[in-house]
Amino acid sequence: MICPVAIRIQTDDFDIAREIAVLTRSRTDIGAVVSFSGICRADEDSANVSALTLEHYPGMAEGEIKRHADEAVSRWPLNGVTVIHRVGRFVPGQNIVLVLTASQHRKAAFEAAEFLMDYLKTSAPFWKKEESATGSGWVEAHARDDEAAARWTKS
């Protein structure tokens, strides 16, 4: 099965429609594409966020995403994976992350997209600093994200 994996970390915005078109171009074997977009939101744990700054560890961030994308490809019958993570400063409403998974049928695409996002949040080296009226501070990791990632661990 042909399964191109594209991973990009960039400051520029992404165009979801364009990315899906690139993933499905000249393919007749894909029956399902799942798209997840993570967007900067104003309300973070009841604080009013005016901006988020995303920092990453160059090299390792790409490597961790690639490692989990490869695992997704080995666990589900996928026909394509695209992960784009933006870095820099964002205001509410702006795109932060995009995960696309393509498969013959929807179940694999849905599950693989969720798996990738769960691991992106807990093991890819990115950090968010938020700005609000009261100042700025680093976002704390949530136990619920660790729990979400842990459910994919094979027993």
């Binding site: 560890y57 490597g63 932060i96 992106l120 949040k121 890819a124 080296p125 680093w138």
Partner: protein
Amino acid sequence: MKVKYFAWVRERVGKAEETIEPPATVRTVEELIAWLSGRSEAYAYAFEKPKVIRTAIDHTHVKSDTAIAGAREIAFFPPMTGG
């Protein structure tokens, strides 16, 4: 070896990266954190809760009891909050 710091660990240490030469008695990640903590108040503040700190050796997540021998690049950072 090269050491990198990210997010609030970087802010507290006051630098993004540096080259260090710990003594041979410093064998594990845990021991390296203890050694760094003794360098100045800034390091002590950055590593005040060593259990919270995540470590990567040559771009791979490692546990605190991992040996640092042969490491080219060690990174210290808080739990990740991307996505």
